[in-house]
Amino acid sequence: MVFKHRKDLLGLAELNRAEIESIINTAVPMKDILTRDIKKVPALRGKVVCTVFYENSTRTRTSFELAGKYLSADTVNLAVSTSSVQKGESLKDTIKTIEVMGTDVMVMRHSMSGAPHYVARNTKMRVINAGDGFHAHPTQGLLDMYSIREKKGTLDGLKVVILGDIQHSRVARSNIAGLSKFGCEVRVVGPSTLMPADIENMGAKRFYNIEEALDGADVINVLRLQLERQKKGLFPSVPEYAENFGLNRKRLSLAKKDVLVLHPGPMNRGVEVASDVADSAFSVINEQVTNGVAIRMALLYLMIGGASE
């Protein structure tokens, strides 16, 4: 059992292959619940899940909230902005408050890498990292892997391209951490100014030419381009980015015939991905969202379901 000896889920790097498989396997029956007429099972009755988001999010927070509700947990959401951290209550005090109200699992999003690790050290609650800075987004990594396995039947040995701003992407890091445990050939491609140092040491192949990277790909995971990076001088313009690194029909044809296109959302249509690619039969972007709920149900179930010790 995955979480018998593990209090928190902070990243995928620390999980082994069997643990990842067990989470994905648990997500399969959870997805069945989602498609039922009455989407509710009593698995987590009497349990409390609190989502604490120090950074904006629509799908991840809603996904966790629904995952908890479908399993009959009580879910609450604490909306906080990073600015209130700086001038108001310390993170430690906020977390203590949530803990003493009786919360079992805290789902946390934070703009600063390592914030969930700090929280996990300072609370008895179980902590799920819902994205921290550039560091990790383990549930996104898991739902991407689930979505790929669902379509391809396996993860082993696939060629997976991660396209875009690798430097600032926790999605990229969690994908590399997870997929590399399944012998995938993970290729990262994007402008050199958005490529982090020594990324090869994480087990990824580095490309600066999108055509070369896409050659024979089984999966393309397109990252969201944060437009404010342009103001920091990290790329000259959005049109030049789209021209050189946007995924369009022509480039898609370089990949395998049955290639899958993923995107963690929200999309900049016409920038990192052309609309006719995002809406094509190759795209699993909407299914990723559904699978995200299933993965989060699986996690909550594995962490706080069943008899407590």
């Binding site: 700086q86 430690k92 890498s113 914030a115 050290r121 550039f134 890091r173």
Partner: protein, 428 residues
């Protein structure tokens, strides 16, 4: 009033001494050093099995007073230094107000003098308000007791200002201590840029942020008559630049810290803010290069960059935490554990880096056991092991990355002007 230190291993690098012997101290001065001495009236300190060195000098500490007394005071910092085995410290001027004028420098020097305990020399600012724009009244600062100028914590980004500072300070003979960091290249950085910053998702501070400024300041020193000292040098590239400059006769010196020779960027895996320091902990290769530099003499001295902080400054998200390590009370065991015990550096080179090395950089008349000189002495038990417990620190700053680590080689007595000021971890 005499003290006879008997039977210790005397290591006095400035005089090329490494022998078992005795030291007689009379009226606060070194009287005699010989294989065997007797003195009827003298109080005897049994140093058998211990290493007896000139008093250790830490030319880079932050005592935080005035302005940040909740982090450290001159008094608590001096106690930390004494217990840590230091007889002289030089304190950086980034206080509030900053030490950019005679009044603040006098306040620091006088406060320290009243506390007695150990020697404290203030370092004045290079520029008024540490703003990097106008150079300070360096003659006045020197008169008030400053031994160097530095805008430590902040680089002097304007090369013209740095040029003038090097020229002007040369009239006084004070070195300019550079905090070498291009603050655009380092902007928002949290740790060394490399594989681990990629893995941990933290904004990197590239080695070149330091090296570009080291290179610039070496060139400015070459064209002026100035003397440049690089504070907390942390990369192999910087060391290479200093080595090359020295070979061309340019008047540049540098210091390295105990944390930069003992810890690497990998240590940030748990986002423990006690490892957050600037310059950041670098790569394993950099650590190797710094140790090599110590062996071949490129590195002039070691210094702690003692940077005490209150609990709240470190008990928070990594990005929000203050930079700095409270280093005075672990410096000696860290250097012995990582340099001497490992066999990487011989002990007399390590002692030199803490004594004659900094004395030479600053022109201090200390750092040796030459008869007639002030009897500042540090006595170390290089076999003793102890587990670091910051709760027991004299420093207000409990921010140490070495907490709960067992280290070998602890100071057992600190003598200033012939008086025992600290013994076995306690102020006397």
């Amino acid at each position: 009033m005499s003290i006879l230190i008997k039977g210790g291993r005397i290591i006095d690098p400035a005089n090329n001494i490494d022998m078992i012997g005795d030291i007689l101290i009379t009226d606060g001065l070194i009287d005699k050093v010989a294989a065997s001495l007797t003195a009827k009236e003298a109080e005897v300190f049994d140093a058998q099995g211990l290493v007896v060195c000139p008093g250790f000098i830490d030319m880079h500490v932050h005592l935080r007073e005035p302005g940040f007394e909740y982090k450290e005071t001159i008094a608590t910092g001096m106690r930390a230094a004494a217990v840590g085995g230091f007889t002289t410290v030089c304190c950086m001027p980034n206080t509030d107000p900053v030490c950019d004028n005679r009044a603040v420098a006098t306040f620091v020097a006088e406060t320290a003098r009243r506390n007695k305990l150990i020697n404290v020399h203030p370092i004045g600012c290079i520029t008024k308000g540490q703003k990097g724009q106008e150079i300070t009244e360096m003659f006045a600062l020197a008169e008030a007791g400053c031994v160097a100028v530095s805008d430590d914590g902040l680089p002097v980004m304007n090369a013209e200002v740095m040029r003038r500072a090097l020229e002007y300070s040369s009239m006084i003979g004070m070195p300019v201590i550079a905090h070498s960091e291009d603050n655009r290249l380092a902007e928002e950085g949290q740790m060394h840029e490399g594989y681990y910053s990629t893995l941990y998702g933290l904004k990197g501070i590239p080695a070149v942020a330091e090296e570009a400024m080291v290179a610039r300041d070496i060139l400015l020193t070459e064209m002026t008559a100035g003397r440049l000292h690089i504070a907390h040098l942390s990369t192999g590239g910087s060391l290479h630049l200093v080595r090359e400059a020295k070979s061309r006769g340019i008047r540049v010196s540098c210091e390295i810290t105990p944390h930069h020779i003992s810890l690497t960027d990998q240590a940030l895996a748990d986002y423990d803010t006690n490892f957050k320091v600037n310059p950041p902990l670098r790569s394993q290769q950099d650590v190797k290069a710094l140790i090599q530099g110590l062996c071949d003499g490129t590195v002039d001295c070691m210094a702690t960059d003692h940077a005490p902080h209150e609990l709240e400054a470190k008990d928070c998200e990594f990005n929000l935490a203050s930079f700095g390590i409270s280093g005075l009370e672990t410096a000696i065991p860290v250097t012995i554990e990582y340099l001497v015990k490992t066999g990487l550096v011989n002990i007399s080179q390590v002692v030199k880096a803490w004594t004659a090395g900094p004395a030479r950089v600053l022109g201090l008349d200390r750092g040796t056991l030459t008869p007639g000189k002030a009897a500042d002495i540090t006595i170390i038990d290089i076999e003793a092991t102890k587990t670091v417990n910051s709760e027991l620190f004299e420093s207000k700053g409990k921010n140490t990355p070495y907490q709960d680590m067992t280290l070998q080689g602890w100071p057992v007595a600190t003598l200033v002007d012939g008086r025992i000021v600290a013994e076995k971890g306690r102020i006397v």
